[in-house]
């Protein structure tokens, strides 16, 4: 007997009882059993189909003696896995707060997919020539005397490899070597791409510097307007820094969500976009305007103007230096293009 106040099975654990949970678990277990049974059945059927064949026996499958098709399959496998990994990366790249198990799974997938992409075609290519592409023995004829027609007898195919050393054989060997080299080259290229090896990017730096200067000059102009028009020095300094931050973002140096002003300007200085002293002065003014309650007056305003003037002068010098280089580059390009 159960006492009236005795808790039920679900109440003892403190967890709510979900209707149908036992049934769902039973269905999941049944699915697993069915999947294992299907795989085991297929394996058994394959073994029974050719009991005399070894593991590496080519048998009479469609791929027998079709090395080109094997190569195509290997290349297709490479491309497929490369696409899969690219898609997977785009899906999981930005996931940062993963639980440890998911984190380990992601790391394992990142390493195993490239290995599978490269390893399986290589194994296939190395095993294919060593496999015994021998004709299988004829299937036993059914003992059915009622059949009026005689069963067709098995005719072994003519040997494809003559074993001679003629020109055709050498040509075939050369084509095979070339094909293997092509697959290996593809494998190396795919591996480099998957491992994200750096590639030299010529001309990127010059073009980007020019963009930075133009955008920063716009930002300096807008910040000056803010300083001139603004009656509140605090708001003017903040607006000036915000304009500079926007321009840096446009030029590729974005403010990350957890960046402090110093972090952002360190990156800009490292990239050569801004000079440390002027940027530091402007950052210090921004700090004071944004995070303190100091009364801000014309002194702060004049210091902000001085920092902006210094930055504008620096950008002007950089633009003047960059202009002859651009002209020279354009002349080089026109010389190359003209006959």
């Amino acid at each position: 007997m159960t006492a009236p106040d005795a808790p039920g099975p679900g109440e003892r654990t403190g967890r709510p009882v979900r209707p149908g949970s036992d049934e769902a678990a039973h269905t999941a277990a049944l699915r697993r059993v069915l999947a294992v049974g299907a795989v085991a059945g297929l394996a058994f059927a394959a073994l029974e189909l050719r009991p005399a064949g070894g593991l590496l026996t080519g048998g009479g499958a469609p791929l027998n003696d079709e090395f080109g098709l094997v190569l195509l399959l290997a290349l297709g496998w490479l491309v497929l896995l490369e696409r899969t990994l690219r898609y997977y990366r785009t899906q999981v790249r930005h996931l940062v707060d993963l639980p440890p198990r998911a984190y380990r799974l992601r790391e394992a997938a990142m390493r195993l997919i490239p290995l599978a992409a490269i390893g399986l075609p290589l194994v296939l290519l190395f095993l294919y020539p060593t496999a015994k592409h021998l004709p299988l023995p004829p299937l036993p004829a059914p003992e059915d005397s009622r059949s009026p027609r005689p069963l067709p007898t098995f005719q072994p195919p003519p040997p494809t490899r003559a074993g001679g050393h003629g020109l055709l054989g050498v040509l075939a060997l050369g084509i095979t070597i070339l094909a293997v080299l092509a697959v290996l080259t593809c494998a190396v290229l795919v591996w480099r791409r998957l491992r994200r090896l750096p590639k030299p990017a010529a001309g990127h730096r010059v073009r980007r510097t020019r963009t930075d200067e133009r955008e920063l000059a716009d930002a300096v102009a807008s910040a000056r307007r803010a300083l001139l028009q603004g009656e509140d020095p605090r708001a003017a300094v903040i607006a000036c820094y915000a304009a500079m931050e926007d321009s840096l973002a446009d030029s590729g140096i974005e403010r990350l969500i957890a960046d402090s002003p110093t972090d952002l300007l360190d990156r800009a200085v490292t990239a050569g976009t801004l000079r440390g002293t002027d940027a530091g002065a402007l950052t210090a003014l921004f700090h004071e305007a944004r995070f303190s309650r100091h009364p801000m007056d014309q002194t702060h305003l004049s210091r902000a103007r001085a920092a902006l003037d210094a930055i504008a002068e620096q950008l002007g010098e950089q633009a003047a230096r960059a202009q002859p280089q651009d002209t020279a580059q354009r002349q080089d390009v026109s010389t190359e293009v003209s006959p």
């Binding site: 940062v96 440890p100 957890a258 004071e288 995070f291 303190s292 009364p295």
Partner: protein, 337 residues
């Protein structure tokens, strides 16, 4: 005891002079020295955790000398008793009464060397002293000198014969400092300095005294902290509690430690207002020893410093343009002036 008042700028100037003097003896460790100075300014206790021979004891002694503080050292051993630390009453034959004899705890700066070599009972003798600057023995409470700073050292690689500090005691430390090996160039400079001075250690000048240390601490209270930065600190501490790799997050005491250390950083820079950089620069030393990682991370040898550094790189800092209009800030400034 505070006889003088210092502005944050004056306190920062004095602190920088003290650091410059200590750097004559402790070569090549400016970050570690700054962090210890921040701990002293913020009125907390410092745990230095690193390998033997990296200058932990020298650092503590140099601070005591330069700050003009009374210095004592306890070498923690497995057979050390709580009364060896805090003191014990003894019978005075002349007066016929039990008289309290203070232990080495009664000093300004205490170096608790290799604190994880002593059993938890003796470690716990420090708890009340570190938290409340007092010792209760036989029902009597004895105040410790002011300022009272504990600089404890711990060796992180030995497990045999050591007792890991419990979380409650780790939480008492304001920050944890790691010293690390010197770079080759700095190590060469350290050896050259040793050869040139022809003496085991540099002789340091006292540049301060206990009253000035208290005045420097009082200057911290004049450092402004904007509401945005308070929210940022709360977000940082809250993130440790919801991080998937952290089992136990930082306590509210961790948030208080972060505020005070960030203010000390501002003072050291000669400012009287806090910036996000101040908070970010001390977040890992202030919080990393207060969190407990999940067990699977121990197997992967992931350090809490790494987890906290990644966390700091994810929590949003205050935005550039404040939600509150600039006019209200100016009004507040006028009202304050």
């Amino acid at each position: 005891m505070t006889t003088e008042t210092l502005t944050p700028q004056q306190a920062g100037q004095l602190a920088r002079e003290v650091l410059a003097e200590i750097e004559r003896a402790v070569v090549g460790k400016p970050e570690a020295l700054e962090l210890v100075m921040l701990g002293v300014l913020a009125g907390g206790h410092i745990l230095i955790e690193d390998l033997p021979g990296l200058g932990k004891t020298l650092l503590a002694r140099s601070f005591a000398t330069t700050l003009g503080l009374e210095f004592r050292r306890i070498q923690f051993t497995p057979d050390l008793l709580p009364s060896d630390v805090s003191g014990a009453p003894f019978y005075d034959q002349r007066s016929g009464e039990m008289v309290f004899r203070p232990g080495p705890l009664f000093t300004h700066l205490l170096l608790a060397d290799e604190i994880n070599r002593t059993p938890p009972k003796t470690q716990a003798a420090l708890l009340e002293a570190m938290a409340e600057s007092q010792v209760s023995i036989d029902g009597t409470t004895h105040r410790l000198p002011d300022p009272f700073v504990v600089i404890a050292t711990a060796n992180p690689i030995e497990y045999e014969g050591t007792y890991a500090l419990p979380e409650a005691q780790l939480d008492r430390f304001l920050l944890r400092v790691r010293m690390g090996y010197l770079a080759a160039e700095l190590e060469a400079r350290m050896l050259r300095a040793r050869v040139d001075r022809a003496a085991p250690e540099a002789v340091l000048r006292p540049l301060s005294n206990p009253a000035q240390v208290l005045a420097m601490r009082a200057a911290l209270e004049r450092v402004e902290v904007s509401d945005d930065l308070v929210e940022y600190i709360v977000a940082l501490v809250g993130a440790t509690r919801s991080h998937p790799q952290i089992q136990v997050g930082a306590s509210p005491r961790g948030g208080l430690a972060l505020v005070q250390l960030a203010r000390a950083r501002a003072v050291l820079d000669g400012r009287d207002f806090l910036t996000p950089e101040d908070v970010k620069s001390v977040a890992v030393p202030a919080l990393a020893h207060r969190v407990t990682l999940k067990p699977e991370l121990w197997v992967r040898q992931v350090d809490s410093d790494d987890v906290l550094a990644a966390l700091v790189a994810q929590v949003p800092t205050p935005q550039t343009v404040p939600d509150k209009p600039a006019d209200s800030l100016a009004d507040a400034a006028v009202a304050r002036s």
